[in-house]
C-alpha cells in the first residue's frame, strides 16, 4: 500500500519540512503520495510534483481548506487515509495540530516526532525533552506519524509527478478563521538555517536583539531565543527554541546569554557546532558547547559582529 504525506505550505509555497518528511517516508515504503490541501494552491501542487520520490500529488484545492482548520482538514485526510499504510506529516504546528485528530478519527494511535526509521513499523523518537530515546513498534494497520525535520535530509527536486484533483469539500462549521499575524523576515527560516544565533534572558531587552540580528545577517543565519526571552516579550513566540518550541540542528548554533536548561537543550543539542557566550562560567550551556566564551555578551557580541 502507498504512503500518504501531508504537504506543509501556506497556499503559495511548499515548506521545506515537507521534503524532510518525504525522506523519512521513503525509508518506510515505495509508493509516496503527497497531499496538498489548501485554497488557490496550484503553485504548491506544481512544486510538490517536482519532489523526487513522489509518485502522485493529490490536490484538494477548496476554500474550506484555506486556513488548514483542523476540523475540516483532518476529516479530509482521514477519508483519504483509509487507502494507505502510513500517513505522515512534518512535526510543524500544522502537523501537530491536525494529525492526532486524523489518528483518532481512524481509531489508531499516533507516533509523534520520529527521529529515525528502523523498519516500516518501528521508529525512534525522543521522550523526556530528549533525555531518552524510545524505540516504538506500531501495531496499527494505518500508521500515523509526525516527523522531526532536522533528523532527516531534505528530498531533492527535479521530478514531474502527476497531479490528481480531489473533489472532497468538507466543512465542519465548528471553527472559523478570524485573523493571523505572521512575522515577515528576510532571514532564512529558523528550522532550516545553517546558522542560528539565539538570545536568552541575558539580552535584557528587545532592542538588544539587534546585536544578534547583525551577526545573523553577516553569517546568513536566523535568530532564535530561549523561553525566558520570549516570555519577557523581547521577541515573538515563533522563534522559541526548545522542547516545546522549535527544534533546530544547524551547522552552527550560537547561544548568547542562555543558561542551558534541559528544555532549551532539547531544541538545539543536535546542532553540529555549538558556541556559548555567557558571563557565568558555571552555566550548564558550557557542558554541551564545542566552544565556550566566558564574557559579557554586550562586549563579546559587538566585537564578534565587527570582526566577522
Amino acid at each position: 500500500m502507498a504512503i500518504l504525506i501531508i504537504a506543509e505550505h501556506d497556499n503559495c509555497t511548499l515548506k521545506g519540512a515537507t521534503l524532510n518528511t518525504v525522506t523519512a517516508a521513503a525509508q518506510m515504503g515505495q509508493d509516496l503520495h503527497l497531499l496538498v490541501a489548501g485554497s488557490n494552491c496550484q503553485n504548491v501542487a506544481d512544486e510538490a510534483a517536482s519532489v523526487e520520490g513522489i509518485s502522485k500529488v493529490l490536490l484538494a484545492d477548496n476554500s474550506v481548506y484555506a486556513h488548514h482548520l483542523a476540523e475540516n482538514t483532518a476529516q479530509l485526510i482521514s477519508q483519504l487515509g483509509t487507502a494507505y499504510s502510513h500517513i505522515l506529516a512534518p512535526a510543524t504546528s500544522n502537523g501537530k495540530n491536525i494529525l492526532p485528530r486524523v489518528a483518532a478519527l481512524l481509531d489508531v494511535g499516533q507516533i509523534s516526532d520520529i527521529t529515525a526509521v528502523e523498519s516500516a513499523d518501528t521508529f525512534q523518537r525522543p521522550i523526556y525533552a530528549g533525555n531518552a530515546i524510545a524505540t516504538l513498534q506500531s501495531l496499527d494497520n494505518i500508521k500515523v506519524i509526525t516527523v522531526r525535520g532536522t533528523a532527516f535530509e531534505a528530498a531533492s527536486t527535479g521530478n514531474d509527478a502527476p497531479i490528481e484533483n480531489v473533489d472532497l469539500q468538507i466543512e465542519s462549521n465548528l471553527s472559523s478563521f478570524v485573523s493571523e499575524e505572521i512575522a515577515q523576515s528576510d532571514r532564512p527560516e529558523l528550522t532550516a538555517a545553517k546558522v542560528v544565533i539565539s538570545g536568552g534572558r541575558g539580552m535584557g531587552n528587545s532592542e538588544n536583539f539587534t546585536l544578534l540580528e547583525q551577526v545573523a545577517d553577516k553569517l546568513g543565519g536566523a535568530v532564535g531565543a530561549s523561553r525566558a526571552a520570549v516570555d519577557a516579550g523581547f521577541v515573538p513566540n515563533d522563534i522559541q527554541v526548545g522542547q516545546t518550541g522549535k527544534i533546530v540542528a544547524p551547522d552552527l548554533y550560537i547561544a548568547v546569554g542562555i543558561s542551558g536548561a534541559i528544555q532549551h537543550l532539547a531544541g538545539m543539542k543536535d546542532s553540529k557546532i555549538i558556541v556559548a557566550i555567557n558571563k557565568d562560567e558555571e552555566a550548564p550551556i558550557f557542558s554541551v558547547a564545542d566552544y565556550g566564551l566566558v564574557a559579557d555578551l554586550f562586549e563579546a557580541v559587538p566585537e564578534l559582529e565587527q570582526k566577522l
Binding site: A70, A104, N131, S175, F177, V178, E281, E303
Partner: protein
C-alpha cells in the same frame, strides 16, 4: 458555564531523567513528580474564568494510578471545585486517555475543556486533538489567549510563523501553550481546604470504555552524549576556531 480540566502526573520538570540499565524504560523510582506544567496552566486558566464570573464550576480529571490523586488535589488546591480520577495503569497511550476523557465529558457535559498541549514526559502532543475528534468538537490548540464571547470562544494560537486567531463554537477543547498565563502557587489554607473537596474514582469498566494497545515500547536508551568542548579566551580565538577547526564560517 462548566469547565473540565485534565491534569497529568509527570516527572517534575527540574528532575533528572535516568534510563534503566536494562533499557526497558526510564527509571522514575524516587523521582520527584508533579502536575504537568501545561496542565497547571490549564487549571489556572479555568480558575481565572471562574473568578471572572464566566464559569461556575471547574472539574479536574486525571487518568492514571492512585498516585495521580496527588495532582488532582494540587488542582483542587489551586481552586478547582471537585476531582475525578479514572483509575488505570501507568503509561496509557494518548488515544486510550482520550477515549476515557471522552466518556467523562459525555457524563459531565462541560462547555469548555482545557488541557495541556503536551506532557513533558512522553512529549506526544496528541490527547487534546484526539479528544476533539472523538467528540466531534472544535479544537483550539497551543493557546496563548482565550476570550469567551456569546456562544463562542476566540483562541489566539501560537503557530510556526506567529499567531493565529480562531473562533470556536461551544463546547470546545483548548490546549494550552506556555504564555497563556502564569500559574499561581497554592496557599496553605487552600491546600488544607482541597483535602475536603470531593474526589470521585471511576474505572474504564464503569465508564464502559475498552482500551486497546496501539504500539509496543521496544526499548528506551540514553541519547548520544555531547561532550563539553573547550573554552576560548577571546573573540579572536573563537573566530579562528570556527574558521579553521570547525570550518562552519
Amino acid at each position: 458555564m462548566k469547565i473540565l480540566v485534565a491534569v497529568k502526573r509527570v516527572i517534575d520538570y527540574n528532575a533528572k531523567v535516568r534510563v534503566k540499565a536494562d533499557n526497558s524504560n526510564v527509571d522514575l523510582s524516587n523521582t520527584k513528580m508533579a502536575i504537568n506544567p501545561f496542565c497547571e496552566i490549564a487549571v489556572e486558566e479555568a480558575i481565572r474564568l471562574k473568578e471572572a464570573g464566566s464559569a461556575q464550576e471547574v472539574v479536574a480529571v486525571s487518568v492514571g494510578p492512585k498516585a495521580c490523586q496527588e495532582q488532582i488535589r494540587a488542582a483542587l488546591a489551586l481552586g478547582a471545585d471537585r476531582g475525578i480520577q479514572v483509575e488505570t495503569d501507568d503509561n496509557l497511550e494518548s488515544l486510550n486517555v482520550a477515549k476515557l476523557l471522552a466518556q467523562v465529558v459525555r457524563d459531565e457535559q462541560p462547555d469548555l475543556i482545557i488541557m495541556g498541549k503536551q506532557a513533558i514526559d512522553s512529549d506526544n502532543n496528541q490527547t487534546g486533538q484526539m479528544l476533539s475528534a472523538l467528540l466531534n468538537m472544535p479544537q483550539g490548540t497551543f493557546a496563548s489567549e482565550i476570550n469567551l464571547q456569546e456562544g463562542e470562544v476566540q483562541v489566539i494560537r501560537e503557530i510556526d510563523g506567529g499567531l493565529q486567531t480562531l473562533g470556536l463554537t461551544l463546547p470546545a477543547i483548548i490546549t494550552t501553550d506556555l504564555r497563556l498565563n502564569e500559574p499561581r502557587y497554592a496557599s496553605l489554607p487552600n491546600i488544607m481546604k482541597a483535602k475536603r473537596k470531593p474526589l470521585a474514582v471511576v474505572t474504564p469498566e464503569t465508564l464502559g470504555v475498552e482500551l486497546k494497545q496501539h504500539s509496543k515500547l521496544l526499548k528506551v536508551t540514553p541519547p548520544a552524549e555531547r561532550s563539553a568542548g573547550i573554552l576560548v579566551s577571546s573573540v579572536d580565538e573563537l573566530i579562528e576556531k570556527l574558521k579553521n577547526q570547525a570550518k562552519v564560517i
